[in-house]
Symmetry: C4
Subunit: 263 residues, 4 copies
């Protein structure tokens, strides 16, 4: 592949493997437990077969769509993923600029390495903000307020990790929790026990709230006028509940195979 651009995503993945440390590559590329769901997320695409129709005029192909009223040239958006400085020194600012250049939409992760305000100021992509609910509700409320002030258009509430997925690669690598500048002054990260295993797992255990339930969606609605998307729904029952709780939409996701394995 010398002197050649990659021709598919697998070749990008190989380049990433060479460019990143093992700890960071595993953090980005790994999944929970046996990584069954991770593997099946990819294999599942191979089970989708197309029925090609012929002699249809395809000189003008229009894949544009709209999401919560925002128009986009294609139905592909940037999902929320954390810690972009692991892969690029500009972090989420670089990602936002790339999204803006495609007129696409970016969901900024709560685990961003760049401050909310910094990403907002860097360009004018359409941006949604992804939120976890903390044991201290005031932390989440502050983050929502900052996203609103910075012109974010929706809140994406991730609901599939009351506990962090058991990512065995991170445990082995003693993965260090990356910087979270948006939490400075909100949560003390100092007294984390780092003697054993993944600091990331420890960190989430100390801050995330396993008692999260549907009534917290109502609380979130009460503190913001932004539309709320519930991310991590995997059953029809829960999709119905989300609508009843006033969500503007749901995002069907198994968290990239990083949370509950065999889901």
């Amino acid at each position: 592949m010398e002197n050649n651009l990659p021709v598919n995503v697998r070749e990008y993945q190989e380049l990433a493997k060479k460019a990143l440390s093992k700890m960071h590559y595993d953090y980005i590329n790994g999944g929970a437990e046996d990584e069954h769901t991770l593997r099946d997320n990819i294999a599942a695409y191979g089970r989708i077969l197309l029925r090609p129709r012929v002699l249809v005029d395809v000189s003008n192909i229009d894949m544009s769509t709209s999401l919560l009223g925002y128009n986009m040239p294609s139905p592909i958006i940037v999902a929320p993923t954390g810690s972009h400085k692991v892969a690029n020194p500009e972090g989420e600012v670089a990602t936002a600029k790339a999204a803006a250049s495609c007129n696409s939409l970016m969901v900024l992760s709560f685990s961003s390495n760049c401050r909310i305000e910094e990403v907002a100021a860097s360009c004018d992509a359409i941006r949604f903000y992804q939120l976890y609910v903390f044991k201290k509700r005031a932390v989440s409320a502050t983050l929502v307020r900052r996203a609103e002030s910075s012109g974010f258009k929706a809140i994406v509430l991730t609901v599939d990790n009351p506990m962090l997925g058991r990512r065995e690669r991170d445990i082995r690598n003693k993965m260090v929790a990356p910087d979270k500048p948006n939490l400075e002054g909100l949560i003390s990260l100092e007294n984390l026990d780092t003697t054993d295993g993944s600091q990331l797992a420890k960190y989430v255990r100390d801050t995330m709230d396993p008692s999260l339930s549907w009534k917290d969606v109502e609380w979130l609605k009460s503190i913001t006028s932004l539309p709320i998307l519930v991310k991590g729904i995997l059953t029809a029952e829960d999709a119905r509940k989300a609508v009843e709780a006033g969500a503007a939409g749901v995002i069907v996701s198994n968290h990239g195979g990083r949370q509950l394995d065999y889901a």
Copy 2:
């Protein structure tokens, strides 16, 4: 395998791999994108199981059949494939002679490295001519007229590539579009941009017509009295449409896994 003839097609394939350059072997042997359809085209044969009946007199086995009224000793014909000079200096003339020696039928590819008239003069195989419809309809019309004059018996209209399949091997190999002597004087091939990736893809993009539709079958019928076979049909709906549009028949094909992957 020293000193031995190949005993099955896989062994011919291994010999071809040794005889050809990587670029040309990949061009002949490769498929589109993930090559899922390419692999499944072969695996699908393994899923066909036979129910042998016994004590049937098989001293005279007759596999002969007829196609558009032409008799053949077996239901196996030479499908249209391009650029035979890549594999043999005589090109499509050699293939036509082989077909003639088996009393079989050859479909001459639009991408032939030999001129239509040259192939016609070389032997008397039954020959069909395979056509794409160009942005300039006059080019296609000229090719049809030349095939008619040279005694070809039918037009095979290939309809499954309004755009060329994304053949990643060709992109990596920067595959050079082989000579197309039948297009000399009809299309200018000079100003093709060759700075990046497969010239073949670029070439098709500049000449093929993505607006092709069923009304072009009617147009083709209006300019020739030869029967028209529509190649690349994969759904019952389209087979029905082809008959309604006046096709003499359809050829069910996924283009050897070279066009739309996962079809």
Copy 3:
């Protein structure tokens, strides 16, 4: 994995492979015949998919259950397996202490390397006793009486090996039958023919009773007041028969793939 604790059971298995002799590792890890059932026992877990529900308060997770009236913090117990001194010099006493430390339940194998009384005295885990029925019924009766006197709470009657599974690894390794101190004075182990193959297979052949049938469950009930669990049931018909025969419960098991392969 230097300096790291294992993060899953497969990594424990790798450590065990390094720590044990081949003969003993194969004895613990191997299965019967082609080891089809052994492999499928593991693969079967991968076929169980979960349907995650979200936004359910999981701050208090209670996996506690009860078995024959004994409360346990989780539905995981120590199944009966033989010859623990192969892996740990303290043998079943070490296992019982581990079970006690988790408030779990241990089923002591008939093939224990520690005496019944010794295990009972070592700690206060809840303990069931696993029994085979010998050709000499008096041997089984004596073992039951000793388990009762030592405070065991139930008898687990294993019914799936009227003959020992053909464990080819043990035959190849000429596996030596480990000590069975509980049988001292009850059965003579001296005249076993050890000229060929697994001594273990020979031993079982000389002592186990292939004529075992449902009426022996009745006999067992007549000599003990402890509840009886029938282990090794694989069909609904036999589960029904077990209840009719007065069993307190059944244990569905294919003996870890160590008895009848392809079950």
Copy 4:
């Protein structure tokens, strides 16, 4: 495996591979064409799962059965296979003695390396004779008469190779047709063309009769009073026809994957 007896049939196969020349091992072990049926013949056993029932008295296991009125201790017989001298200098005589020592039944192959009379005289196994029908019917008639005189009990008419399966390994190895002493004086084997490929294939082509049909079963019945088993039936339709034609039974077989592949 030094100094150890094989513990399963796969280990016997490995020993055979070491003991035989490649040509002879391939002849015995190979199948037709892609060897799909050959592989699936083995894999099919893995798809048969058992439903074990427990607490059934198994102290007396009786697998005895009878075939055409002949009692045998188990339902396992020696199927007709040719050219045993390839593997053992005593040839089919050795096999017959082994069958006799198990009170089992042997079907002597038409392609035996030992004369019919020699096998008959060597021991008193129950013996059936396997027959092909030759272009010269008189050859088959002679063989049947000799089997009858030698005390054979039934004729097994193999009907699944009007043409020999295309065994690519034999072609590559230029497999030499082994001696067929039973045909001496009946068929001239001298003028076989051996310039190319498997002599075996050539031999069968020159002697077997592709016009064989159900009326030949009637002919066979007219020349012998022995019961006739039709071997190679794979459909219910043909089983019914065999009974109507007066066969005493059918043998369901795909010829060990050596004839029609993908059957």
